[in-house]
Amino acid sequence: MSEFITYLVTGIALGSSFALIGSGFVVVHRVTRVVNFAQGSLAVLGAMLSASLLAGRLPHVVGEMVTVVVCGLVGVLVGVVAIGKRGTPPLISLIVTLGVSMLFSAAIIWLWGQDPVSPPGLDGFTTILGAEVERQRLLVLVVTLVAFAGLSLFFSRTYLGKALTASASNPFAARLVGIDVRRMGLVAFGLSGVLGGLAGVLVAPSNALSFYSDLPMALGGFAAAVFGGLVSPLRTLVGGLGLGVAGQLTAGYLNGSYQTEVALLLMMVIMIARSRSFAHEEAK
């Protein structure tokens, strides 16, 4: 039983980071129709940067915040490269983001080396139903839930959020009322950078990340986003958590190296099962 609880909590923590990365995919896709594959790299960048900043004696919270802000700015830069040129088709932008993520891997090896990095997090354990659980993993879930609540408020309450929603809903009409849709796309890329960075900062203290982690992180996030039809942040959260738990249970009771395959399999099943509704989304 306590084993099961441990797997469950570990899965939820990992799943939360998938959900954060996945909602980055969703935000960018809704506004720009681009699937931003540099999303996983931003999580890795977040992990590396926070490790360096915290080792450089920036206090906790400040170090993490600076990291997330920097990841947001880097996200905007990715956006400039991917959609900066007016009229770039989304498919071309997708390939650009893939290329950018490869450059990221190179830059990360150059700056931080090839070894996995794990920044310090929240120390200590808590006992839940007889199972010893790392506090950091609980923190991941709490921060993720707060981030999703914040996102929801941002989209429903602020003008910037509404302008993003308007651009996503009808880019043509958004331009008619004076919204710079391309700039909204850059804002979406920045937001996805923040979400990716946050995921890296949170997950790395318990699951060390290396330059090589961008693909599994991006795949996990993308699978979660696909579960949300690439449009719904809330369903992305559910998908991310489900995927994280399924992956950990597989790793715990079967074999640890199957985790990525579980994500891919889940993604395939969902895509095939929901292909009709995807076609519907596209038609809109």
């Binding site: 302008a163 929603t165 809903s169 004076g178 700039r183």
Partner: protein
């Protein structure tokens, strides 16, 4: 107010607009008519900013706008109502109109996101403006309903409200009557007359000749991409070139109204 000077646009050798000029005075209600394929939509899109002219210029209140992207033209005061459904799904009627007003507001996007007191005051003003605009088009009772699923006539009027929220200098209407039932057309015509009476300069591009002749001060007639007549409704409808253009392809249609 709006000056279109010798504008041409061709698509692969076919001229959709050739040397089109028109001059809309402040406070005027100008109609643009023409048979199918006359180049009305092309002219409309050139003014709205979705197409760029190959030659000629377009200016608004003395400033050239023909190289500006659509969203900048919108901020300069060109408000547009397209015939297709151009609404923000997932938002209420009021929110749809507020987005229109917000994009024109002085506060930058980012500062508005943090909502300091000045912005909150502005937000209240924008809400009041949006409600006023909904009231003008007669949709205030539906303010909190979602925008999707509205009947076509109400969708058009919602678009008009959203356009008004930006306090436009020029309101462009692209075939606003198309697809509407007779009662809805009458309501829409009344609304257009009322808005113009309140001082809004309007350019009405419309297939329904009867509607345009009853509303417009002056009418520009296009045929095969060129202006063939320009004058008061009475002058234009008795112009032999116009009658000839509408014979054959559009005679039934013109007679019908």
């Amino acid at each position: 107010m709006l000056k279109v000077e010798r504008v041409s646009k061709h698509f692969g050798g076919v001229y959709a607009n050739r040397d089109v000029s028109l001059d809309v005075a402040e406070g005027e209600l100008r109609g643009v008519i023409g048979p199918n394929g006359a180049g009305k939509s092309t002219l409309f899109n050139l003014i709205a900013g979705h197409l760029r002219p190959d030659a000629g210029s377009i200016s608004l209140a003395g400033a050239h706008i023909d190289r500006l992207p659509p969203h900048v033209r919108a901020r300069r005061g060109v408000a547009i109502v397209f015939q297709g459904a151009r609404l923000f799904a997932g938002m209420s009627l009021l929110q749809n109109v507020m987005v229109g007003a917000h994009a024109q507001s002085r506060a930058g996007l980012v500062s508005a996101a943090f909502r300091p007191p000045a912005q909150r005051r502005e937000e209240r003003e924008i809400r009041a403006t949006a409600e006023q605009c909904l009231d003008r088009v007669g949709l205030l009772e539906l303010a909190d309903r979602p925008a999707e699923g509205l009947p076509l006539g109400q969708q058009r009027r919602l678009q008009v409200a959203r356009a008004l929220a930006g306090r436009p200098r020029l309101l462009l209407l692209d075939e606003p009557a198309s697809g509407l039932r007779a009662a809805e057309r009458t309501q829409l015509a009344d609304l257009i007359r009322e808005l113009n009476g309140a001082g809004t300069t309007i350019l009405l591009v419309e297939h329904d000749v009867g509607m345009v002749t009853s509303l417009a001060h002056r009418i520009t007639v296009l045929d095969l991409g060129a202006v063939i007549a320009d004058g008061t409704p009475a002058e234009v409808t008795s112009d032999p070139a116009v009658v000839k253009a509408y014979l054959g392809t559009g005679a039934d249609h013109a007679a019908h109204h």
